[in-house]
């Protein structure tokens, strides 16, 4: 399946937004406003959701197309035919599409199984989920973690290709690795030129402090924006 690359999962979800107004603001604009109110980095609600690598939300108002002449299939053929009649030139123009609904698009790169992830998300940030999706069709049936999983699956689209350029380790592994990289780089820089015994003593103290194998121990926090 295109959504899975080893232990990494690509969740893509389009939730149709109802037509209507909330305090004079269109539902879609209200959804966008709420999203933009969310905090950044460690303040984002998504920082509380376990196993979230990177994720984004946006409101899709409509579909768009690029209108400069491109390398369309049959383009040259239409160019020749348009010498004889203008209708061939018009036939080669792209048709104009517009969406009937606006959509809340959620694109998430996560570690592990989607059902487990969504349940943990519901339990971590249930209030934020309700606030964000409340104007979407079908969300009125969401009453708990199970119905949330069911709802998201109804909105889910399969990826045709998922490319992992980073790695698919658990988030705790990734954050611990980054913490160790940062701390060990500093240690190495700060302890240059020491005699072997003194260096080894400092190293032992360093290892005791950073606890390389302890994922629950000293590490970076999800969304940490300052070293």
């Amino acid at each position: 399946m295109g959504n899975v690359s080893n232990n990494a999962y690509a969740l893509t979800c389009l939730s149709p937004i109802k037509k209507g107004h909330y305090s004079g603001t269109a539902y879609s604009d209200e959804v966008r406003r709420r999203l933009q109110q969310w905090g950044l980095h460690e303040q984002s609600p998504m920082a509380k959701v376990p196993q979230t690598y990177l994720t984004r939300f946006f409101v899709l108002d409509d579909v768009y197309y690029e209108s400069l002449p491109g390398t369309d299939f049959g383009g040259t053929w239409y160019d020749i035919l348009s010498i004889f009649s203008d209708r061939f030139r018009r036939a080669a123009l792209p048709k104009e599409d517009h969406l009937e609904s606006k959509y809340l698009v959620w694109c998430c790169n996560l570690h592990g199984d989607m059902d487990t992830y969504l349940r943990a998300m519901w339990h971590s940030i249930g209030d934020d989920i309700r606030s964000l999706w409340e104007f979407c069709y079908g969300f009125e049936d969401v009453k708990g973690a199970d119905t949330f999983v069911h709802y998201i699956k109804q909105c889910q689209l399969s990826a045709s290709l998922f490319f992992v350029g980073s790695n698919d380790a658990s988030l705790e592994e990734q954050l611990k690795g980054l913490y160790l990289k940062q701390e060990f780089s500093r240690f190495a820089a700060e302890h240059q030129g020491l005699p072997p015994a003194e260096l080894q003593q400092a190293y032992r103290a360093f290892i005791e402090r950073v606890q390389p194998q302890n994922l629950a121990g000293p590490s970076w926090r999800p969304g940490q924006s300052r070293p």
Partner: protein, 206 residues
């Protein structure tokens, strides 16, 4: 609104594709997925965290309620989502220079795709079809994709070194410690919120 979270940039591109051509793209993507060697060109672009392509049939937009109007579209749509490091122009240009034929293969059947070379029409195509992100989150705003990969190597090597030589006699420890640093020299380095951690954060005055 921000496409930027720390060192990551979120790109969303939606482009129309003739519905009767989507199967060609799906076959191309399937081959790419089944044979990872076909993505070697993409692997050379080490600035990418994660990327995906999603094709939505013109009748496949989620429909969840009888009250929701059904979409009446002429085209199917291809969505491209990428998480990368660096600026927009660096990313788009690196795609063009590193894998121009791969790009053309993936977008060839999209409406009015201008091809990846020359650059200016390709820039316009991406700009015209890009949608801004309303909320973007990364679990490690200080880290680039290369940092995440390097961190894994540092962690593995450090644990291995500690197990074998952490309690060795000082001279052997010293020798192996230097070997460890030599082996990790490309993976070490301080990660800082540079040059601008987030334009949105800056705008908020934090």
């Amino acid at each position: 609104m921000s496409n930027i979270a720390g060192k990551a940039y979120a790109m969303n591109v939606i482009t129309p594709i003739r519905w009767y051509m989507t199967w060609i793209n799906k076959v191309i993507f399937l081959v790419a997925q089944k044979r990872p060697s076909t993505l070697n060109g993409l692997m050379t672009l080490s600035l990418i965290h994660y990327a995906r392509w999603v094709i939505i049939g013109r009748n496949q937009f989620p429909h969840l309620s009888p009250q929701q109007p059904k979409e009446k579209l002429n085209y199917s749509y291809m969505l491209f989502f990428s998480n990368f490091n660096g600026s927009w122009a660096q990313y788009v240009d690196s795609f063009t220079f590193a894998i121009p034929s791969g790009l053309d293969l993936f977008w060839k059947w999209n409406i009015r795709y201008p091809k990846s070379v020359p650059l200016t029409p390709f820039h316009s195509y991406i700009q015209f079809n890009q949608i801004q992100t309303d909320h973007y989150y990364t679990a490690y705003p200080l880290a680039a994709a290369n940092d995440v990969k390097a961190a894994k190597r540092v962690k593995t090597a450090l644990i291995e070194f500690d197990t074998q030589f952490g309690n060795a006699d000082p001279d052997q420890f010293f020798k192996q410690y230097k070997a460890l640093l030599r082996g990790l020299q490309h993976d070490m380095g301080d990660m800082q919120p540079t040059p601008i951690i987030s334009l949105a954060e800056q705008a908020k005055g934090h």
